[in-house]
């Protein structure tokens, strides 16, 4: 009888999570005529598609690494701030806005900043004689994604990593100091190893975040499909017919495989990190 209470939710998740996931993966295995085929996966060996996977991976790795380091530094600087103080509240709220709400709007922010007529572009050109687009306008190309991505990666790092940073017990530092350890020893031997799994876990989460991100890139890049999500876009909205939906399915499966590896690594690291968070 009490199982009945779970049915509405179970049905909902079945229809709107399980069915679309299965359909997304499944369409890759069928041809336009509805017969089973593995032909769609040939797209994954297409040099252009391979290039977009490679581009997605390196841009995610780059922005995750830089984002983790900068966000880690920011968390480090924030550990002294009073929780619930104005500074913390401002940073927490701003991080949530940029990491969870931004998307398309962050693209506009960067068009206003380093677009052709952007504030920074114009200031650098007129006041310092530096032309950031001397080799062509890169904002609407792959390299143009790096700064907007960092703009949501660093805040996400703060959201994820700051609690781990605050989980460092005062007693551990005191014990280290009592035994004659200096600041270097403390960070090298105690705080460092304790934080390492959290840091690496956060790094993977940032990678997954950038890898699955679509909105910012879609708003910035209207020509071409340099990263996998944009490949899926062009496969989905192609006007050439239904066959491209199956290509989208094959691309989706490729993306899921990368995400699977990343998320498995994340959960392994998370388990290690949890040991110290009790």
């Amino acid at each position: 009888m009490k199982w009945l209470g779970l049915t509405p939710f179970a049905l909902y998740v079945l229809i709107f999570l399980a069915v679309p996931s299965v359909l997304a993966i499944g369409t890759g295995f069928f041809g336009a005529d509805g017969s089973f085929t593995l032909d769609n996966f040939a797209t994954l060996t297409d040099p252009i598609v391979l290039g977009s996977f490679w581009a997605s991976i390196w841009i995610s790795a780059l922005t995750a690494t830089v984002g983790a380091v900068l966000g880690g530094l920011l968390s480090f600087a924030l550990t002294g701030a009073k929780p619930g103080g104005v500074l913390r509240r401002v940073i927490d709220s701003a991080s949530s806005v940029l990491a969870q709400f931004g998307g398309v709007m962050l693209a506009f922010a960067f068009i206003a900043t380093i677009g052709i007529q952007g504030l920074v572009t114009v200031t650098l050109r007129d006041s310092f004689g530096i032309d950031i687009f001397a080799d062509g306008v890169w904002l609407y190309q792959l390299p143009g994604l790096v700064l907007p991505y960092l703009y949501f990666q660093v805040p996400l790092m703060v959201i994820v990593f700051l609690p781990a940073m605050e989980g460092l017990r005062r007693e551990w530092a005191e014990a280290s100091a009592t035994l004659g350890g200096g600041a270097y020893t403390y960070w090298r031997r105690i705080a460092g190893p304790i934080l390492a799994p959290s840091f690496l876990g956060a790094l993977l989460l940032l990678f997954a975040n950038a890898f699955s991100s679509y909105a910012t890139a879609a708003a910035l890049i209207s020509q071409g499909a340099q990263i996998v999500p944009l490949q899926i876009r062009s496969a989905l909205i192609a006007e050439t017919g239904a066959s491209r939906a199956n290509t989208a399915g094959a691309l989706a499966l490729g993306m899921l495989l990368v995400m699977l590896v990343v998320m498995l690594g994340y959960s392994a690291l998370q388990r290690r990190a949890a040991r110290w968070q009790r």
């Binding site: 993966i25 969870q100 709400f101 962050l106 922010a109 660093v154």
Partner: protein
């Protein structure tokens, strides 16, 4: 002198905290850099047609003469607000009771449940939309093409955030004992849910509601690829002909959502305030901070919704 030095060095190490000058430098540099795009947006909106600065573009946005031009934008904002409201209703009426039920009645399911709520993060929205497209072709046939059906897909996108925000509060309030007490006094399940659970998880529920609103209002991937007009879709559309309107709207919504989150963060929960005022000693304060930190981890961990 050397004695002072010895005293000072461990003091810095003991707290495990960085020296104040280093902290301040890092904060000022990183926050300063992060303010630049926002300032640039503001500067951009003030540029006049013939050069110089003014409120020309802000005025144009509210000018009734341009209402035709911004019709789609207004429609998109309206649609997004409607979707946010329906998605919040899904969180309150479907997710909350289910999460409570699993927590109280099926504790053995909670691991499976947790795994389930991580899936929408592990499966990117751009992948999910590949499967949502054929699904929505059927939904449109059955329920019509009205915008509200999109909220059903949005519920899945916000599930991870809603789950974490609510479940951490459930654990924190000791729901099991309270519910048993209420039940033994003869309260019905509905009374328990409404008068014991909801007040107890109020903070988590508010936080879940705010995150839901933020995610839905910022959503672009699913709506644009399913050809629905939401705020973000309309923004991209409008930016092609009138970038000023797009930047003004973006800046305003970023500021408004920031203000909402900031106000929420500023309302201190009653319990915590009592803890602090009751005992000024270190251990209580530390305990309160630790709880806050744990809650923050639980609510905001595994956030990857930047669609």
């Amino acid at each position: 002198m050397s004695a002072r030095k010895i005293q000072k060095a461990p003091a810095a190490a003991v707290s495990g905290q960085p020296p104040a000058w280093l902290r301040r430098t890092i904060l000022i540099v990183i926050c300063g850099v992060f303010l630049v795009p926002l300032l640039a947006m503001f500067e951009f909106t003030l540029r006049q047609q013939g050069g110089g600065y003014g409120l020309e573009h802000w005025a144009a946005l509210v000018d009734p003469e341009n209402s035709r031009m911004y019709r789609n934008l207004v429609k998109g904002i309206g649609n997004s607000l409607l979707l946010a409201a329906i998605t919040i209703a899904i969180v309150w009426l479907l997710f909350l009771p289910t999460i409570v039920l699993v927590h109280l009645q099926f504790p053995r399911l909670s691991r499976v449940f947790e795994l389930l709520t991580v899936l929408p993060i592990a499966i990117p929205a751009i992948v999910l939309v590949v499967g949502l497209a054929p699904l929505y072709r059927i939904i449109v046939q059955m329920l019509g093409g009205h915008i509200w059906t999109l909220a059903l897909a949005y519920g899945i996108l916000v599930l991870p955030f809603a789950y974490r925000a609510i479940v951490s509060e459930l654990e924190g309030m000791g729901a099991k004992t309270l519910v048993e007490a209420a039940r033994s006094l003869g309260a019905s399940w509905f009374t328990v849910l409404w008068r014991v659970i909801v007040p107890g998880v109020r903070r988590g529920l508010t936080s879940a509601t705010l995150i839901t609103a933020a995610v839905v209002l910022g959503e672009f991937t699913v709506s644009s690829l399913l050809n629905r007009v939401t705020m973000q879709v309309a923004l991209v559309e409008v930016s092609k002909s009138d970038p000023y309107a797009a930047v003004i709207t973006s800046l305003l919504s970023l500021v408004i959502v920031f203000a909402l989150l900031f106000i929420f963060a500023s309302i201190r929960p009653r319990g915590q305030r009592r803890l602090r005022s009751a005992a000024g000693n270190v251990s209580t304060t530390t305990a309160a901070t630790a709880t806050a930190a744990a809650t923050a981890t639980a609510t905001q961990k595994e956030v990857g919704a930047n669609g």
